[in-house]
């Protein structure tokens, strides 16, 4: 485990690669909202980090720490108040269509079959559909859902629907995948299955992933690096490199190294509580 202090301008992510390989570069991004009563709220204060090609990076932190805000600014869906998140060497934010998106809800279209749902990116991006059929089968295999192509979403369980959503996010072979608490609404067992699948999907597809979660073990299990955030004001407090061997197994979570990282993050997130519990 290697950690680094992200704040302080020049210092960027731990052990990162030269800038040429960075898919995303966040320089002093911050977001300030106008609240209902007219006051200004700092959802996120100046943050710096980079995401390297093919990397799996998680954002972990308590609710209200600006994880989702940071994810949306990274995807260009919302504009930062100050600073910027640039994509590769374009000098600007990633453009719509160049990335995939997975949310907490599957956000499938119930009037379309699974196969047609997977074609949604092709419809919007007006892509050539001649090889789409094979791609659908390939991706459904990748997310472990063979043979559901002609089913409607409401015939599938929540976990299966989320798998379809992941397959859809990869249909247009995006360079980057943004996932906003994708397994947050699932039960523990389904969640573990999806964590295993996600690891496999990441290694098979080679796509760079930015992943928001508030499940620490999930973040450690899946990530190459973890951005630990804290609330009020939201900021990145530490960047942790997870150098556990891959592929990781469910058993890996009981290893000493795994636990060490997990505990470290826990201390960062709520130092008082952890100490108090330990003392009692």
């Amino acid at each position: 485990m290697a950690t680094s202090e992200p704040s302080g301008g020049e210092q960027l992510a731990a052990g990162l690669v030269n800038a040429r390989l960075a898919v995303l570069t966040a320089s002093a991004v911050s977001k300030r909202y106008q609240s209902q009563d007219g006051g200004l709220v700092d959802a996120l204060t100046a943050s710096n980090f980079q995401v390297a090609d093919g990397e799996f990076v998680s954002l972990v932190g308590p609710s209200g720490c600006g994880k989702t805000t940071l994810l949306k600014m990274s995807s260009g869906l919302i504009a930062p108040t100050h600073g910027e998140v640039t994509y590769r060497d374009t000098g600007r934010a990633v453009q719509p269509g160049a990335f995939g998106m997975v949310f907490q809800s599957p956000a499938l279209l119930p009037w379309r079959t699974v196969g047609k749902n997977l074609l949604f990116p092709h419809d919007i991006l007006r892509l050539d559909k001649s090889s789409a059929s094979e791609r659908i089968d390939e991706l459904l295999d990748m997310v472990n859902l063979p043979g559901v192509r002609d089913r409607y979403p409401n015939e599938l369980s929540g976990g299966m629907q989320q798998r379809v959503a992941i397959a859809r996010s990869l249909m247009h072979a995006p360079d980057l995948l943004f996932m906003d608490e994708p397994f947050g609404a699932l039960d523990a067992i389904t969640r573990e299955e999806l964590n295993l699948s996600m690891q496999r999907i990441h290694s098979t597809s080679g796509t760079t992933v930015m992943f928001v979660t508030h499940d620490i073990a999930e973040a450690v299990f899946l990530s190459d690096r973890i951005l630990v955030m804290s609330a009020r004001p939201g900021r990145v407090v530490e960047i942790i490199e997870v150098d556990l061997e891959r592929p990781r197994h469910l058993d890996s979570r009981t290893s000493a190294e795994f636990r060490e990282i997990e505990m470290h993050i826990r201390h960062l997130l709520h130092p008082e509580t952890v100490h108090a519990e330990a003392a009692s």
Binding site: S75, L77, Q95, P96, G97, F99, G100, M101, F103, Q104, S105, A107, L109, P110, W111, F120, P121, D123, I124, L125, N144, L145, V148, R151, Y152, P153, N154, E155, L156, S157, G159, M160, H172, F178, T190, E193, L196, S197, R200, P247, H249
Partner: protein, 283 residues
């Protein structure tokens, strides 16, 4: 790799099977239907007896058998068909015009939130006005006849359908919107691929309400002045003090209403089969 595939694959099959199974309620449903039928027969027999014994004045409650005789006579003399055709025809034409207009106007108004905000108070104002009250003015404008009848019907059933269409075209699922944005969807694509299909359960709930309103409109238009229609039959029988004849017209109106409602529901189930909360939507 294979070891991690298996637990996942195992979870796939039973889930699908579970969701495809039909509910085992059929026998209980059948028993309920039987009870409903028995209750209906019982009530008819009670009415027959009550009327025969003059527990209730025959002006209020004619015997069901006399209503049946009136119906039989009406059909055998062939006088009903013309009126049924007229009522159903104008209902469908008025309803059709209103449905198409409501969908187009709804689509246009929802094109921008601003437009909708500006126009919505007018819709609310018109919706609060009892549309029946406009009928005399429409007759003043267009005279007695099919034209004014159709306009009255369309006016009465237009607003509930418009309001439902507008409601349906609103984006209710934020993540769906963000998904479309993440792919750079244009406003037209957002409308075509998300808002329009997503509105269908609401539109159909509106059509189901609309068809009922249309029939009400037809009868009112026929009361106010028309040459044909079941509303006209009702008024004529009233003038003749023929109570069984009036009840016969009511029965026919009920059947027309049921058939129209059934057809709308049937089409609804075929088109928006994917919506699993149809009953919640109808409110």
């Amino acid at each position: 790799m294979t070891s991690m595939v298996q637990p996942e694959a195992a979870s796939v099959v039973p889930d699908v099977e579970r969701r495809r199974r039909r509910p085992r309620m059929n026998l209980a449903r059948l028993a309920d239907a039987g009870l409903t039928t028995l209750l209906a027969i019982g009530l008819l027999l009670l009415a027959e007896h009550a009327s025969n014994e003059e527990w209730v004045s025959r002006l209020i409650l004619p015997t069901p058998s006399s209503v049946w005789d009136a119906l039989y006579a009406g059909f055998s003399e062939g006088i009903y068909w013309k009126h049924i055709r007229s009522t159903v025809g104008s209902t469908l034409v008025g309803f059709g015009i209103a449905a198409v207009t409501a969908t187009i106007v709804g689509g246009l108004l929802s094109a921008s939130q601003r437009v909708e905000r500006v126009f919505f108070p007018f819709i609310v104002a018109f919706q609060t006005l009892p549309k029946i009250a406009i009928a005399p003015i429409i007759i003043l404008w267009l005279g007695f006849g099919t034209q004014s009848k159709v306009v009255i019907i369309a006016t009465i059933c237009f607003f509930p359908m418009l309001v439902n269409t507008l409601q349906g075209l609103r984006i209710r699922d934020r993540e769906r919107l963000e998904l479309a944005q993440s792919l750079g969807a244009s406003r037209w694509q957002l409308f075509r691929y998300i808002r329009l299909p997503d509105s269908l359960p609401y539109v159909f709930a509106g059509l189901t309400i609309g068809i009922v309103f249309a029939l009400i409109g037809t009868v009112i238009a026929e009361f106010l002045g028309s040459k044909s229609g079941l509303g006209v039959v009702l008024i004529q029988q009233q003038a003749a003090f023929n109570v069984p004849g009036m009840y016969a017209a009511l029965v026919l109106l009920m059947i027309v209403g049921l058939v129209l409602n059934f057809v709308t529901k049937y089409i609804e189930r075929r088109v928006v089969f994917w919506a699993n909360d149809l009953t919640n939507v109808a409110s």
